[in-house]
């Protein structure tokens, strides 16, 4: 039934090479508005590279990427306005307070009613009491919270997260899950890479397995038996490994 609406993210035949090394080989990927996709796969499968391309930080070698109807890298500014990104680094300035960091990014995104929005976001990520403290003094978990606040500040249509749970304690993870559910509940599209299958299974509505530069398998949450993600993940990787590799010489 979702097939009628145009996809929020549409990736076709995406190839990314670093010099002679091919990281993504003709990857196809499509996300409907409101979907929460967990991108799973072993280390070196190209998850981070793929996310960097989606977030417009890296341009594709070949293939097309369209987000919300705008293509990359041609209409990057329009795409950027609709994207929120949480990378494995916090992207924050240590010598600015939480509030000042948000003020700065809010100005870059030309957010309307910035002051009120900052109050709102600080409330969501639970940093309101420490709004005037320097980010330098924050723990890893608090920096990550603020990083999420930074990513949702301009109310993006699409949220991209690269291993957001890494290095977080239980409380921070719970808070992150809470924020993600809230964002996804508002009908926003979320793409998240993860190593943590249990957490991913809790949150996402779809699971894509990325290995050897391609999406090898995809399954919707409702089609998966309870706690069936691990089995699905292993089965997909095994199938991918046994498939002969048709290397395309560059």
């Amino acid at each position: 039934m979702v097939e009628q609406t145009p996809p929020m993210i549409q990736v076709q035949k995406l190839v990314k090479r670093f010099g002679l090394k091919t990281v993504l080989r003709s990857l196809d990927f499509s996300v409907q508005p409101g979907e929460f996709v967990a991108l799973l796969g072993p280390n070196g499968a190209g998850k981070t590279t793929f996310l960097r391309i989606l977030s417009s930080l890296s341009s594709p070698t070949l293939g097309t990427v369209t987000i919300s109807g705008y293509s990359l890298p041609g209409q990057a500014a329009a795409v950027r306005r609709r994207l929120g990104v949480v990378s494995h680094l916090p992207l924050l300035y240590g010598d600015l307070s939480a509030e000042e960091n948000l003020t700065f990014y809010g100005r870059l995104y030309a957010v309307e009613g910035l002051k009120a929005r900052i109050d709102e976001v600080l409330e969501i990520v639970g940093l309101a009491p420490r709004r005037r403290d320097l980010v330098r003094t924050f723990s890893r978990g608090m920096q990550q919270r603020l990083a999420i606040g930074r990513a949702i500040l301009h109310d993006p249509d699409v949220l991209l997260l690269d291993e957001p749970h890494t290095g977080l304690d239980q409380d921070a993870c719970a808070m992150l899950d809470e924020v993600l559910r809230q964002v996804s509940g508002l009908g926003r599209t979320v793409v998240m890479t993860s190593h943590d299958l249990a957490r991913a299974e809790d949150l996402a509505s779809r699971f894509d397995i990325l290995s050897r530069g391609r999406i090898q398998a995809s399954v919707k949450a409702e089609d998966l038996p309870v706690n069936g993600l691990l089995a699905f993940y292993r089965e997909s990787l095994r199938a991918a490994d046994s498939r002969p590799r048709h290397e395309v010489a560059a």
Binding site: F18, G19, L20, K21, R245, E247, A249, A250
Partner: protein, 232 residues
């Protein structure tokens, strides 16, 4: 893997013949300069090497611009070839200049605009090589290399003029009669012919080396690709 193009072989042979002829002209054909004597013969290859060096940096500058527009790695290879060859020729130019300056100016080194500019260029392009060696990702290496080859080349005329405003003692042999320059001489027709011939010979040498270096870069890349294919 492509075998050596026939035109390149022809170019190699022509270059070898031209260089042999240029050496003959410099040492046998051209008359001995009356005041300076044998050391004046440095002049023919000194200027020709400087010319080839500038040509190399200019090729790198143009290839850098084309690379940024097209993002094709072949232009990166052209740029690197231009810089490497330019570095060698400019070095030859500086050393031969020093050999000439010792008896004529009575010093190995002076802070003359051309000499100083050549040296600063040499340093800038040495920095270019260091910049490249500090980057793993070939695409980024090519981009940064292109940017720096453009910046470095554009600063050359500015550097030259800035040092030019100081007084110069470097002789300007062609089209100048500045009385303060030391070591000027009037070229006889045979000297002029030798000089022109050296420039042509060095231009051919430059072209042949550039082609070989670009080809070497391509072969290097092919080897890398084959290695990667073997691994996977």
């Amino acid at each position: 893997m492509a075998s050596k193009p026939r035109l390149l072989t022809v170019l190699d042979i022509v270059t070898a013949l031209l260089m042999a002829a240029a050496i003959y002209m410099v040492f046998i054909f051209a008359p001995m300069e009356r005041v300076m004597g044998a050391v004046q013969k440095v002049f023919y290859f000194h200027v020709a090497a400087g010319w080839a060096g500038m040509l190399g940096f200019f090729v790198a500058f143009v290839a850098g611009i084309v690379y940024l527009i097209t993002k094709q790695s072949r232009w990166d290879r052209v740029e690197l070839a231009g810089v490497e060859i330019g570095l060698v020729f400019m070095f030859i130019c500086i050393v031969t200049g020093s050999i000439w300056a010792r008896p004529i100016w009575n010093t190995w080194w002076t802070w003359d605009p051309r000499l100083t500019t050549a040296t600063i260029m040499e340093l800038a392009y040495a920095a270019y090589m260091m910049l490249r060696s500090g980057i793993e990702d070939p695409e980024r290496r090519a981009r940064f290399g292109a940017v720096y080859s453009i910046v470095a080349f554009i600063s050359v005329p500015l550097t030259f003029f800035s040092i030019r405003i100081f007084r110069t003692i470097h002789p300007v042999v062609i089209g100048s009669n500045d009385p303060t320059a030391q070591g000027t001489f009037n070229m006889t027709p045979a000297m002029g012919q030798t000089f022109a011939f050296s420039l042509i010979a060095f231009s051919f040498l430059f072209a042949a080396l550039l082609w070989h270096r670009i080809r070497l870069g391509k072969l290097q890349e092919d080897v890398e690709r084959l290695k990667l294919q073997l691994q996977s």
